[in-house]
């Protein structure tokens, strides 16, 4: 009996160790990226690599703020991501409500149409978008990017929010309407507050996707509206890649996203599966 107990605890220990090992393997590339942003040029290329003990320097950070003006591109990213997120939420809410609460012809067909658009690869239509935007004289503007992103963000928001609205019983709204509210007021006063948590989560996730998007931003902008992810081109120069500043930019560009993502991690999986899996 005593022996068996020991064996179980030992098994448990090994399982814990194994999981820990895998987790370390997955976090390590990110950890190395963040630490490398504080390394001098020599330490970055040291072989064998230096993992922990090096003299930290802020040179890389100074370089990206002064030479590359990273704040300008972060501002662009922020404008585009916020604009597209807010617009898509605003436009998606009535559409979601319609798809979730009414029964009408073509309902599932329309929902499927939105899904199709969400799945369309950005790279496949980006060149067509580019020529259209150019013809309208909107290339390299924030508004062109914001509207382009709506193509993916609105369908995504609709698909995510639909589950939230459907999970709130319609009887609550009906009760409010019986008490004299209009349908609109019933929605604003009853359903909206109940789905507020989900709404914020979806907004954050849409923001993260837009913040990270590369292909559309890369081909639709050149200087004025250029966003964070496309600044990698600045580090890939003819004289090789400027690794130190690149690590610094990657750290700054990913830090807000990681923090945001940790806040909404409850919703993240169902978001990545378009609500197919609820957590």
């Amino acid at each position: 009996m005593h022996f068996k107990f020991k064996k179980v605890t030992r098994n448990k220990f090994f399982i814990n160790l194994l999981v820990l090992g895998v987790a370390v393997a997955f976090i390590f590339p990110y950890f190395f990226m963040v630490t490398s942003s504080f390394k001098s040029r020599l330490d970055t290329f040291a072989y064998p690599p230096i993992f922990l003990f090096f003299r930290p320097t802020f040179k890389n950070y100074i370089s990206i703020f002064k030479d590359i003006h990273i704040l300008f591109y972060m501002k662009n990213s922020f404008i585009v991501s916020t604009g597209s997120t807010l617009l898509s939420i605003l436009i998606a809410i009535p559409a979601t409500y319609s798809l979730a609460r009414y029964r009408f012809r073509f309902r599932e067909k329309i929902a499927f149409g939105f899904l199709l658009l969400q799945m369309t690869p950005g790279i496949s239509i980006v060149f067509s978008l580019f020529f259209i935007v150019k013809r309208m004289g909107l290339n390299d503007t924030h508004i062109a990017l914001i509207i382009s992103y709506l193509l993916w963000n609105i369908p995504f928001t609709i698909w995510m929010l639909r589950g939230f609205v459907e999970s709130i019983p319609a009887q609550l709204e009906e009760a409010a309407m019986v008490d004299g509210c209009t349908r609109f007021r019933a929605f604003i006063l009853v359903t909206l507050p109940l789905m507020a948590g989900g709404l914020v989560a979806v907004a954050i996730i849409v923001f993260i996707f837009t913040w990270n998007e590369f292909a559309i931003a890369f081909f639709l902008t050149s200087t004025k509206a250029r966003t964070m992810p496309t600044t990698i081109a600045f580090f890939m120069t003819h004289a090789g890649i400027k690794w130190g500043p690149m690590f610094a930019a990657a750290t700054i560009g990913t830090l807000p996203v990681v923090i945001f993502a940790l806040f909404v991690r409850k919703y993240f999986i169902s978001a990545l599966t378009l609500g197919a899996i609820k957590q």
């Binding site: 590339p29 658009l117 690869p121 067509s128 609105i154 019986v178 990657a250 999986i269």
Partner: protein, 310 residues
């Protein structure tokens, strides 16, 4: 009297809402803004894309100078011996099956372990979130350094196996790109399967325990069948996701060396921007969209099935 009045008012109200529902204009009106923005822009863009795929259009000249060539680009891509499409399909196929197999296997087994009594599970779920939320373009760039000859990966290889590989060379580039994908997306499978495990009913497992089933039997006859729909759905989602990945491969290898890592999205870019053949690139893009549409139809069938089962 006052009471009766309210009742009458309610009756009238209910009557009016019923009538409103019968007319059924509201649902369409509510959909109108989204419909207008999304489908308006999308239809215009896709129609223009199809037009681009049917013409010969010199780079830099206005669209009016383009010559109509009909389906020539499609025919060339599908039949010409110099067509890059076949190679690209091969590369995409290897990429999809290789990454999916590894990600499913690691994801499933690790989720299984995490589902047991593990110390600090919430910390692990937080850690596993990181690779998939950080900027793919930056991810590509850091992995490009890790894969360089004196980089991180070769260091570990030398320590463990004693060899250094030329990761971004012709033979290993595809594997390198796949490793980045595995790093980025295995956590996705881990978290999804963990959620799936936690949603499983407990009774069948208790019954199996009472009947004295071995751990292996429980896995094969209980866990796997119960998880099968989830595994299928996630695989299809991931498959479609791979058909959309452009940034990581573009940054790590740019499709090279030669055409070793040209997946379908990379092929669209290469034909359009590198070969400077807008028509042909657009034809590849249209084919990619058709492929995605077919996959979405399959996935939607699965989704709806699970919706009804709920």
């Amino acid at each position: 009297l006052h009471h009766i009045f309210i009742v009458i008012k309610k009756e009238i109200f209910v009557f009016s809402t019923v009538k409103l529902c019968k007319v059924k204009k509201t649902p369409y009106l509510l959909l109108l803004p989204a419909f207008f923005v999304v489908f308006g822009v999308a239809v215009y863009t896709v129609v223009f894309l199809i037009r681009m795929s049917l013409v010969k259009w010199e780079f830099g000249l206005p669209f009016e100078t383009a010559q109509w060539v009909g389906l020539k680009h499609y025919v060339w891509l599908l039949t010409n011996s110099g067509s890059p499409l076949l190679n690209s399909l091969k590369v995409t196929g290897i990429y999809i099956f290789g990454t999916l197999a590894v990600e499913l296997l690691i994801g499933f087994s690790l989720a299984n372990l995490l589902n047991k009594k593990i110390f600090g599970r919430s910390i692990y779920t937080a850690i596993f979130l990181i690779p998939m939320v950080i900027m793919p373009s930056m991810v590509g760039l850091i992995w490009r350094l890790y894969f360089s000859y004196d980089g991180l990966i070769n260091y570990f290889f030398e320590v463990i196996i004693g060899v250094k590989l030329n990761w971004l060379g012709r033979e290993w580039a595809l594997l390198a790109v796949m490793i980045v994908d595995i790093w980025e997306w295995t956590p996705f499978f881990i978290l999804i399967f963990l959620a799936g495990f936690q949603a499983l009913p407990t009774e069948p497992f208790e019954a199996a325990k009472v009947d004295g089933a071995s751990r292996w039997q429980v896995l094969v006859y209980l866990t796997l069948p119960l998880m099968a729909p989830l595994i299928l759905t996630v695989s299809i989602l991931r498959l479609m996701d791979i058909l959309r990945i452009f940034d990581v491969i573009y940054v790590v290898t740019g499709g090279g060396p030669g055409s070793a890592t040209v997946t379908l999205p990379i092929l669209v870019w290469r034909e359009t921007m590198i070969a400077r053949n807008i028509g042909r690139g657009s034809a590849v893009a249209v084919m990619l969209i058709i492929l995605i549409v077919c996959l979405t139809i399959i996935m939607n069938k699965l989704f709806q099935k699970s919706r009804y089962e709920e």
